[in-house]
Each structure stands twice: as structure tokens, then as C-alpha cells.
């Protein structure tokens, strides 16, 4: 029977190729949309430590300066294991398009709050001892060919006391992730003390405090406790679990996920109409052949199965190729979008949904021709032929 399905699959090569291409492009688009939607959902593979982290921002304007002195008061809140802080700014290497995301952090507490990050002990020691030292992510090393020991100038818009805007840093080590934490883009970690001492404005301030608590169940209680500390201060703070913060940020940008889902549904429906019309036309052309098969003794179910299996073969072949191309494309996009949308990945769930949709598309597109074949009157079909 499979040989018969395969022989039929090979007929009308031009039409079949165009149908396969349509399905392939639809699932390529669908796969990319699912991955981008995932990026906007703020869901990432999390390490255990990530679920224990909380972030404190300026309540009035997130990522606006807050006094670094808040850190000591936050550290005293019961339930907090460690606190760090950071000031982030956009830097560039040699030309403005060579983007580098700079984090000015206190070297002593960074790895306490981020136990899911790892630096070789000798490199960590060197960095802690080097005031203008920096740790780079592997992606940054790969992108610009940097190695440990390199002295690199990072351009910025932050004015220094000497009138310059370039930060000369020495690469002392490479910072890696473990336990699935997402912290792997083109980031460079410099000392907060270096930034704060050299810059002209916003001295003694940071953008973000990051806290590590003992248990995820404590996050609600601890966040209230932190924000209560600064209720009469200026600025006030807002503290949330790190992941929740990310999701809120994406939600603030509009419900992009819902729009992308809508587009994906439209892609699916248009594909259903295209493949359905082609399958209907193909089956109608071959009604006399189906009638002959029935006359030869093939059962109704077997002939109907022939129609459906062809629809499944077209949708699965085109769909799987499209999905594979989507995975390759996402792999490339991931690198480019890391800064803007770090969670753009093809998840197992997205793959499972895509395959389920391929089967649904095949069954729905093949349903009408299959029904026609099921109801086929053999003598009428042979008579018409």
C-alpha cells in the first residue's frame, strides 16, 4: 500500500512541489513566530538560582538612578542572603554598530547573587585585583576575537572627568553560565568602582539592585519589606522576582504574544485553505481511479486512507522541512537578537505544537476529499469517466 501512496505522491510533480513549498514556508514562518512569541513571553530556561533572585528598581522610572547606599539597608532585610547592584550602559567597540552591553558591578558580591555564573578562580582573582579589569562573555570573545589579557577601549556616551567617553578595560577572564542560566550575550562586566569614580554624573547611584533570597516562597514577603524601607525615601523602590520583572517589561510593550499568536493562526488557516483546495482538486481528478480500486476489491476505508495519507505526507514533508529551516534560522537569529529579545528559542513545546498542527492541517485539508471518496459511488464514478 505504501508503494501506491508513494507512486501517487510522485505524480503531478510541479503541483506537488508548489504545495510542499507553501506548507514549508508556512511552517517556517510558524516556527519563527512561535520562537519570537516565546521571546516576548519572557520565559527562559531558568536555573534554580534565577528563581531565588529579586530585582529592585526605581519606582518612578525603572532603571533610573538610585543611591548605592540602599544596598546596605536592603542587605539587612530578613530572608536576603546576598545583594548586588549594577549600572548598565550601552558601549561599543571601535564602531557604534559593534554593540557591547556594559555592566558595572561590585566584584565582591556578583557571584554571591549569581551562583549560576562561573569564572576560573585565577581569572576571578586577577579581575578582583585589577581596577580597570573586566570579565567578558564567551560570545563577546568569539565576536571580536578578544582574549584574556587584551586591553580594549569601549566607547560610550558617559562623560568622564577627563572629558573622555572611552573606557579602557583589560580582559581578565571569561564569565560563563551553568545550570541553564541565560546570561550569555555580548556582555562585559567592569568594576562599579571604576565607573563611579571616573564618571561626571550620577555618582553614587546604580540602576538596579539584585537580591538573592533563601526560598522562592519568600519573594513576596521580602519584596514588601524592601519597598517598605524606602516608602518615605526618594526615590521609592519597586521589587519583584527577576523573571516577573522581565515579563512585566514585555507586557508593557503591548501584548505582542497575542498578536503573534493571531498571525500564526492566520498563517495556519490560509495554509489550510490552500492545501485543502489542492487536495480537493487532486482527489476530484482521481475519483475514477478510486472507483477502480474499489471495483478491484479495495475497501472503502483503504481508499479513503489513501487520500488522507497523501495529505499527511504532503503536510508532514513540507512542515518538517519548514520547521527544520525555522530551527536553523532561529539559531542564527538568537545570536543577533540576544540583546533585544533573549528568549527567542525553539522550545520542545513549539515543536510539538507545530507537529500537531501539521497533522491537524493534513487531516482537515484531506477531510473533504476523504469524505468524497468515502461516499463515492463506484458505478457512477466509472460511468462519468
Amino acid at each position: 500500500m505504501f508503494s501506491l501512496i508513494w507512486m501517487n505522491f510522485k505524480r503531478n510533480k510541479g503541483r506537488k512541489l508548489l504545495t510542499l513549498l507553501s506548507v514549508m514556508i508556512a511552517f517556517l514562518l510558524f516556527g519563527v513566530l512561535m520562537a519570537v512569541r516565546h521571546g516576548f513571553s519572557g520565559q527562559r530556561p531558568e536555573s534554580q538560582a534565577a528563581t531565588l533572585r529579586m530585582t529592585t528598581l526605581n519606582k518612578v522610572a525603572p532603571y533610573s538612578p538610585m543611591p548605592v547606599a540602599y544596598a546596605a539597608r536592603i542587605a539587612a532585610v530578613p530572608g536576603i542572603k546576598a545583594v548586588t547592584y549594577l549600572s548598565a550602559f550601552a558601549g561599543f567597540y571601535q564602531k557604534q554598530s559593534n554593540f557591547v552591553l556594559m555592566f558595572a558591578v561590585p566584584s565582591a558580591s556578583l557571584l554571591q547573587v549569581y551562583p549560576d555564573l562561573t569564572v576560573q578562580s585565577d581569572q576571578l582573582k586577577a579581575w578582583m585585583a585589577d581596577r580597570t579589569g573586566a570579565l567578558m562573555t564567551p560570545e563577546l570573545a568569539k565576536q571580536y576575537g578578544w582574549r584574556v589579557g587584551y586591553r580594549v577601549p569601549i566607547g560610550s556616551s558617559i562623560l568622564q572627568r577627563d572629558g573622555g567617553t572611552t573606557w579602557d578595560v583589560t580582559i581578565d577572564g571569561v564569565i560563563n553560565t551553568r545550570g541553564g542560566a541565560q546570561f550569555s550575550s555580548q556582555k562585559l562586566f567592569m568594576h562599579y568602582t571604576y565607573l563611579d569614580a571616573a564618571r561626571v554624573s550620577n555618582q553614587g547611584t546604580v540602576d538596579t539592585f539584585v537580591e538573592l533570597v533563601s526560598s522562592p516562597s519568600q519573594t513576596g514577603q521580602v519584596s514588601h519589606a524592601i519597598d517598605r524601607l524606602f516608602i518615605n525615601a526618594s526615590p521609592q523602590t519597586v521589587t519583584t522576582a527577576s523573571n516577573a520583572l522581565l515579563q512585566n517589561a514585555y507586557a508593557a510593550a503591548g501584548n505582542v504574544g497575542a498578536i503573534l499568536t493571531g498571525v500564526a493562526v492566520l498563517v495556519f488557516l490560509s495554509m489550510l485553505l490552500v492545501v485543502g483546495a489542492i487536495m480537493l482538486h487532486t482527489a476530484r481528478e482521481r475519483l475514477s481511479e478510486f472507483a477502480v480500486l474499489r471495483a478491484l476489491g479495495f475497501r472503502r476505508g483503504a481508499v479513503t486512507g489513501l487520500v488522507l495519507s497523501e495529505s499527511i505526507l504532503v503536510c508532514m514533508c513540507g512542515g518538517l522541512i519548514g520547521l527544520l529551516l525555522a530551527c536553523i534560522l532561529i539559531g542564527k537569529l538568537q545570536h543577533l537578537l540576544e540583546q533585544q529579545l533573549a528568549g527567542v528559542i525553539m522550545t520542545g513545546f513549539a515543536i510539538a505544537v507545530s507537529i500537531a498542527l501539521m497533522i491537524a492541517l493534513a487531516l482537515l485539508a484531506g477531510a473533504v476529499p476523504a469524505l468524497q471518496t468515502w461516499r463515492l459511488s463506484v458505478h457512477d464514478a466509472l460511468g462519468r469517466a
Partner: protein, 238 residues
């Protein structure tokens, strides 16, 4: 089965129609295509059915081949009352007992001659090699063993019909039903097909029922019955 029962089966006609009526609805009108028709065809017979268009010949063939059901009456073939069979059982019965030869050959264009002939054998438990062997034997019988790998589009009309006959006989069916087998062929090719059918009847003992408009084709059969307005007769209506 006892010896007496076997003997009784042999003495019974292979095809036995009793009071077969077929009604069709055309809009609000009911048309009686077959009128309480009786027919007995002995094993090994070569029967031609003639008659004008719309007389009910093809309907009768469809009922004999289990492609259609009578509105009333009994259709017993080789002792089996096929009018009582379910759709699925009827499909299985067709696969084992009937070989169809169509006017327009109805070969599957994507399959080679050999694959077309082997098609009914897909419903058996034979191995691929055995199916191929039997298909080649059938093609050899119709004189087309050298065209086995050719697709229908690469064959002449006569050759296509011979492939159609090979497909019809490959399962060694009880009965061959031929619907205008020479209707789409020129005289020479038609004669070759008729000679082939005669050969299958005389030398291989096949029971053949053939619908035809052509008196020349009907003359090749052992006997001819005439259909007119749903009734069978020995003589054509004047």
C-alpha cells in the same frame, strides 16, 4: 463438503439472478431500470449482453459485479447470495471472485503495466516476489511480457486493454465481467481482445459476461442475450 453437495454445486448455474429489480430516483420520478429479471449463467459460459443505451445492461453488470445492489430480488453467484453482503464483505468478495474489464481500461497512470496487473494482488497475503511472478504470468498470457515496465501512456489502446484483462485475471476470479471491452478500440485491436477473451473462456474455462453494442463482438461469444427496457430476451426487439 460431501460428494453429493459438491455435485449439486457443480450442477447449479454459476450466476443465478431471481426476480432482480432495480429502481432509480431521477428527481421526483422513479425509474425501473431492471424489471424482475431472472438469469442463469452456467460455469464456463461466454455470454454477450446486447441492447440499446439505457436498456439496463451496465446496471445489470454492476449488480453482477457487486458494485450496486438490487432494489429487490436475489443475486447468487457461485452459491453465495451477494445481495446480502455488507459493503466491506462485498469488497472482499469482489477481490476474490470478480475480474472487471472496462471500456476505458482504467489503468492507474502512475503505475507500470506490471504494477497495474499486480494491483489486485495487494489485497492478498502473497509476498512481493510472488505478486510480481503472478503479474508477469498474466502479462505473458496476454502477450505483453515485454511491455511490463511501460506506463499506460506508453502503450497503445489495444495493449492497455490487454493489461486491463491481465489485471482482471491475475487473481484467477470466478467470473470475468467485461463492459464494452472493444468499445474504444479499432477493429483489428478489438478482434485481438475478443480472441483473447475466447482463449480465456475456451482454454482456461473462464466464465465471461460481456456487455457490447457491437454484433461482431457479440458473435464471438457462445450465446447472446438482448436487454430492452430492463427485460432480458433471446431476441433483439424489432
Amino acid at each position: 463438503m460431501s460428494a453429493i453437495a459438491v455435485e449439486n454445486t457443480r450442477n447449479q448455474p454459476l450466476v443465478n439472478l431471481r426476480g432482480v429489480t432495480k429502481l432509480y430516483k431521477r428527481g421526483s420520478e422513479t425509474v425501473e431500470v431492471l424489471k424482475r429479471l431472472d438469469l442463469a449463467v452456467p460455469r464456463g459460459d461466454f455470454l454477450a449482453l446486447m441492447g440499446p443505451s439505457g436498456s439496463g445492461k451496465t446496471t445489470l453488470m454492476n449488480i453482477l459485479g457487486g458494485l450496486d445492489r438490487p432494489t429487490a430480488g436475489e443475486v447468487i453467484i457461485d452459491g453465495q447470495p451477494i445481495h446480502t453482503l455488507s459493503d466491506s464483505a462485498l469488497s472482499g468478495w469482489r477481490a476474490r471472485h470478480v475480474g472487471f474489464v472496462f471500456q476505458l481500461y482504467h489503468l492507474l497512470p502512475v503505475l507500470s503495466a506490471e504494477q497495474n496487473v499486480a494491483l489486485p494482488l495487494m489485497l492478498t497475503k502473497l509476498s512481493g516476489a510472488e505478486r510480481k511472478k503472478r503479474a508477469m504470468a498474466a502479462l505473458t498470457l496476454v502477450g505483453l511480457e515485454d511491455r511490463a515496465k511501460h506506463k499506460p501512456a506508453e502503450l497503445s489502446g489495444g495493449q492497455e486493454q490487454r493489461v486491463g484483462i491481465a489485471r482482471a485475471i491475475v487473481t484467477d476470479p470466478t467470473i470475468l465481467l467485461c463492459d464494452e471491452p472493444t468499445g474504444d478500440l479499432d477493429r483489428k485491436a478489438g478482434d485481438e481482445i475478443l480472441e483473447l477473451l475466447q482463449l480465456l473462456n475456451k482454454e482456461h474455462g473462464k466464465t465471461i459476461i460481456m456487455v457490447t453494442h457491437d454484433p461482431h463482438a457479440a458473435a464471438k461469444a457462445e450465446r447472446t442475450l438482448f436487454m430492452n427496457k430492463g427485460v432480458l430476451g433471446e431476441e433483439p426487439e424489432a
